[in-house]
Subunit: 239 residues, 2 copies
Amino acid sequence: MEPNVIQSSPIEAAVPQPQPAIGVAVDIVILTVVDGRLRVLLSLRPTEPFKGYWSLPGGFVGQHESSDTAAERELQAKTGVGGIYLEQLYTFSEPLRDPRSRVIAVAYYALVSADRLPNQAGSRESRWFDVSAILDDPPPAGNPAEDIQLGFDHELILRTARDRIRGKLEYVPIGFQLLPERFTLTELQHVYEAILGHGIDKRNFRTKVLRSGLVRESDEYRKGKHRPARLYEFKQRTF
Amino acid sequence: MEPNVIQSSPIEAAVPQPQPAIGVAVDIVILTVVDGRLRVLLSLRPTEPFKGYWSLPGGFVGQHESSDTAAERELQAKTGVGGIYLEQLYTFSEPLRDPRSRVIAVAYYALVSADRLPNQAGSRESRWFDVSAILDDPPPAGNPAEDIQLGFDHELILRTARDRIRGKLEYVPIGFQLLPERFTLTELQHVYEAILGHGIDKRNFRTKVLRSGLVRESDEYRKGKHRPARLYEFKQRTF
DNA sequence: TCAAAAGTGTTTTTATTACACCCATGA
DNA sequence: TCATGGGTGTAATAAAAACACTTTTGA
């Protein structure tokens, strides 16, 4: 840690902060599921470098805040809503990742349910993209094969985020953050399928969810064109 | 991320690096298992703050290196050996975590087998400590209850590292890094028990390891006071 | 009445757990 | 010969996977 003397170079010992400045930023992978696909919020870069590329939203960490706080601030600014599930992902620190100057990025991922988003359509400078269309080639069948190139190392960050939530899905109740307070089991299954990138057996999924004890059935139903589906809610909104 | 314009504060847009300096350091949780106990390498702080406290080894990230490289350098310097298993853990960034100045720490953990360590005993300024004695109170029976207080937020970092490898142990072949190239199954079991903090059934453990396919038996035996034990080796030293 | 999504059980297979005795060695 | 750690198998239980048809609704 910073206050330690590097034993083999005692000259540095007396100088606590001899290093040249390194910028510290946060980058946020903001994810949602719409229409059964995992989507990420990207910003259009207005200036060089990577002008015209899409990139992850982010910002610098202030002198008197933690990276968590900086990420929350940025997340609120970009989505317009607060209280979103947010977790640190990984720190990216290759010296040349930003061509202008030395900046390390503490990356976060956020999971937000589509119903909380005011601007689902997106705007000129900020839009939702299909994660699979960016990361998987060839893109899965039926995908709009818009060939997105992300600026900086943001494709790596995005891939790291997807890998992380895929792994986490198997042993912690992620996924509820991507749904409204009440949801049908089919909606929950679609979230799982969107994250995992493959289909799941309906009966096995329902059995497993119901006897996990994480979910409570309500007496409400979602009406649609077809048979109404029972709504459930997550027992513990906090982890 | 750093190059993004914060949409809600366009003034910052034109100034890529307007933030005051934040120091970037690496802290390393160097772990080994000796005598069936998980141990961590700590350095004695020679100066304020936290003078006389034990703390995790670490150092600043240089201007032209990644945090991975900085961590490798520091690890080599502290252990005297190279090629050690090293992985990024988490980034700690509370503004007041270092009382002198603003420094964030990208924490790493390293796993090294005891047989590779030249200075197992330790020295005046650097020693191995029982992790459980630091983190668990009351310490498990038979523990030297030396009440270690770590400087900075290093107890939190150490706890985070132990939690991480406990979780990882269940689904990836960690643990081999903590053993010599050839090892007995009992030695492997002791590593697992040291990390998990509880005993494991011998027969179930051996069955599971053998049919995991991760291990190959050699025709060598370890001789000791009692019946010789067959030596095994890990099939893939790389992941 | 038809299209579309909701809902429901059983069997097979695979992994996990619990559990106790004999073996080989050096002292 | 005895103390010590090495080594082995089976039965019970629990979890995961495969698999197809009936129900309800709105159009």
